[in-house]
């Protein structure tokens, strides 16, 4: 995948001063790193408030690759939403609108890096090369979303808001204790969380821990402007990236609808971490275009014009415009990507429908690594109980 020139190491360690501006829907470009405008124009490089320069240097192939990721991730997400509407999933947390934040940060990860997602990072998961069906067990209700975090370098989804930021911090402490920082092959950790999560004690404790132990971690906050119905103003009165300053590490705000800028900023922060320079907070300024989850009704708390304004900043349209203007891609390419997305969505759908229901007695598996006599007794009871019904299979 693409590699960016991130100028990461040149970056100063000082956090950014407060801008003093109230948190607004439209930050100045002064405190927002952007490398691709909503109209698809490239900005060569951007200097952040603290003097760090951000730019990317992708080949045409890599640009097309990012576009493909964005389209695929959106299409699979749409398929999941459709599956839920058809009763095939219990619930779905859509990433619509946040594709660039996820693809940009996901592609910025190096193979050795470890990610701790929330419940919405399907796009990051995809970029890690993980089978996109993996989280569907959780949303279909056939399992609790269990996989081996170490196998995929991608932790299980975490639903309790903020809890995973401490897990990520502990893991990053372990990386440092293992002596796995300090060089280009060092390991870095990324912890995803939302604007709402920023208010949780756990997240702030994670900031404290990671600062005190100089843990190799990037806190990646997707500020999608809402925690369910609550707008950002319920969680903070200043821009979120500025939170980091209070804990003694850098904070950067990036246009989260700009896959290039997100890539550049995340890559630089990860590289700082892997080189032993400790934590960074990245605030990806984006928007949740859909409902919080399929059970939510956003018309109750936000107005159509706001959604429309964000529509104009669409993360995919701008890449398409850029590719077209720069003649990096043509209609045939776009059609091919759409077709691939359609096919992958179809395959995903088929596989979701085939997911087997769990067996009743599996209820008793894995409560404890080596079992427990009480659980065994309850399993036995259940087996006998089920046997008492005619034709039961378990």
């Amino acid at each position: 995948m693409a590699k960016g020139d991130t100028a990461g190491k040149a970056r100063g360690k000082r956090a950014t001063p407060r801008s003093g501006k109230p948190a607004g829907k439209t930050p100045n470009t002064g405190d927002l790193v952007q490398l691709l405008t909503p109209d698809g124009d490239r900005i060569d490089k951007v200097t952040w408030i603290d003097g760090t320069e951000y730019r990317v240097d992708f080949t045409d192939e890599e640009y097309r690759g990012l576009y493909r990721d964005l389209v695929l991730v959106r299409r699979l997400d749409a398929e999941a939403t459709a599956l839920q509407r058809q009763g095939e999933l219990g619930i779905w947390a859509s990433l619509l609108g946040q594709e660039a934040a996820q693809v940009g940060s996901g592609r910025a990860l190096r193979p050795q890096d470890m990610a701790f997602p929330t419940y919405r990072e399907h796009g990051v998961l995809y970029c890690r090369g993980i089978d996109p069906i993996m989280p569907f067990g959780l949303f279909r209700g056939v399992d609790l979303g269990g996989w081996d975090p170490n196998e995929f370098k991608f932790n299980m989804y975490t639903i309790v808001i903020g809890a995973q930021t401490l897990h990520a911090t502990g893991y990053a402490m372990g990386v440092a204790m293992d002596g796995r920082t300090g060089g280009d092959d060092g390991e870095a950790v990324i912890a995803y969380f939302g604007d709402g999560a920023s208010a949780q004690g756990d997240v702030n404790e994670a900031f404290i821990w990671s600062a005190v132990f100089n843990a190799p971690i990037v806190f990646f906050c997707q500020n999608n402007q809402y925690a369910i119905s609550e707008p950002l103003e319920r969680q903070t009165r200043i821009p979120l990236y500025q939170r980091a300053a209070g804990f003694g590490f850098p904070g950067v705000r990036v246009d989260g609808n700009d896959v290039l800028a997100t890539y550049a900023v995340t890559r630089a922060a990860l590289d700082n971490a892997r080189h032993g320079q400790g934590p960074t907070l990245v605030e990806a300024f984006t928007y949740r275009m859909g409902a919080h989850t399929t059970t939510d009704d956003p018309t109750r708390y936000r107005i159509a014009s706001e959604v429309e304004a964000w529509q104009a900043k669409d993360p995919i349209a701008r890449v398409k415009a850029f590719l077209t203007k720069q003649r990096i891609a043509d209609d045939a390419f776009f059609a091919e990507v759409d077709e691939q997305a359609k096919q992958e969505a179809l395959r995903l759908r088929e596989r979701v429908l085939e997911m087997p229901d769990p067996k009743p007695l599996s209820l008793f598996d894995h409560v404890y690594p080596h079992g427990s006599p009480e659980i065994d007794a309850q399993r036995d009871f259940m087996a006998r109980y089920l046997d008492s019904f005619e034709g039961s299979v378990h």
């Binding site: 609790l144 808001i161 925690a227 119905s229 319920r234 309850q378």
Partner: protein
């Protein structure tokens, strides 16, 4: 007496509205309780009618919700805190068990913290992890808290208002899978003549065995009793309603008649409410018991994936299976 047919969820909404009307010091606080009206719409319309100072959308942090509620209570307010789902009350656990529960005791009675903590609880709605738990034992074991659960619209309407006017901190468990069940509610009955908050109630008289349940399992117990009629068994069903303190006098009375008792709850059995109830019944009705008090509960596993919850949760058949066992003892 005006009666209306309301869902259980709507009945709570109406009860909250009356509580807000009745006392300007009552405030509602929690995540998404404002414009959204809560994820279950229990606070629907209340912010619009009472304003942002009475119905407060809070930052996303449960310890903060309860901790600031304590401060508001010291200031003279009566906060009603909504915890969005059962599984999200734990970040507030310290504030609840170490602060809310102890404030009156440690102040030698000089401070009251009349906080109501509303928790939609229990499973059966096909949700993902942390959205279907039954944490009532954690609170019932905590001295200084009172814990109740409603099972029908009338009780929901009355009990939420009683909880708010009570000077105790009350953990108010709402059976979320029954939010949509309808019933008749006397909407203008005077509160001081209502059935007491901390009292259990016989909801179906019977002679052969006693079934105990609360919250979502009352319906299950009643259904089981109906089904048992076919076997010629006449089961008494008691809705416990108050989980701390327990009100077991009617239970003892019943068990002394029936000699058999089954207690049902969704929470895991181990060190659950059922254990306490069984122990007390045994202490108080020792010579009347024909069989030990049996428990039908969630298993001692974490709450499983949605497609296993029917196997996990007590249901009519498991209740009747236990009743059978009490007769076979």
């Amino acid at each position: 007496m005006a009666t209306e047919t309301l869902t259980l969820g709507k009945a709570i909404n109406r009860g909250l509205r009356r509580a807000l009307e009745h006392d300007p010091k009552v405030v509602i606080m929690g995540e998404d309780v404002g414009k959204l009206g809560g994820v279950f719409r229990i606070t629907d319309g209340l912010q619009k009618d009472f304003g942002e100072n009475r119905v407060i959308d809070t930052p996303l942090a449960e310890s903060g919700i309860i901790g600031t509620a304590v401060g508001l209570a010291i200031r003279g307010y009566r906060p009603i805190c909504e915890i969005q789902f059962d599984g999200f009350v734990y970040p507030a656990y310290d504030q609840i068990v170490s602060q809310v529960a102890k404030m009156h005791f440690r102040s030698q009675g000089k401070v009251t913290v009349p906080i109501v903590i509303r928790i939609p609880f229990g499973g059966g709605i096909g949700a993902v992890e942390h959205h279907s738990e039954s944490p009532e034992a954690y609170f019932a074991h905590t001295a200084g808290l009172k814990v109740v659960s409603c099972s029908n619209p009338q009780d929901a309407y009355t009990m939420i208002q009683q909880a708010v006017i009570s000077d105790d901190p009350v953990i108010f468990f709402e059976p979320k899978r029954r939010y949509h069940e309808k019933g008749t509610v006397e909407v203008d009955a005077p509160l001081d003549e209502a059935y007491p908050l901390h009292a259990s109630r016989v909801v179906r008289p019977g002679r052969d065995a006693t079934l105990l349940a609360y919250g979502p399992m009352v319906r299950t117990a009643l259904d089981a009793a109906t089904a048992a009629e076919e076997d010629g068994r006449d089961l008494e069903v008691i809705d416990l309603r108050t989980l701390s303190p327990l009100d077991l006098a009617p239970v003892y009375e019943s068990v002394r008649r029936t000699g058999r008792c089954v207690v049902v709850h969704e929470a895991p059995g181990n060190v659950g409410l059922g254990a306490e109830i069984a122990a007390r019944i045994t202490e108080n009705c020792f010579y009347s018991l024909e069989s030990p008090v049996l428990r039908v509960t969630g298993f001692d596993t974490p709450y499983p994936a949605a497609r296993l919850e029917e196997d996990y949760l007590p249901n009519l058949d498991r209740v009747l299976e236990a009743v059978d066992r009490t007769f076979g003892w």
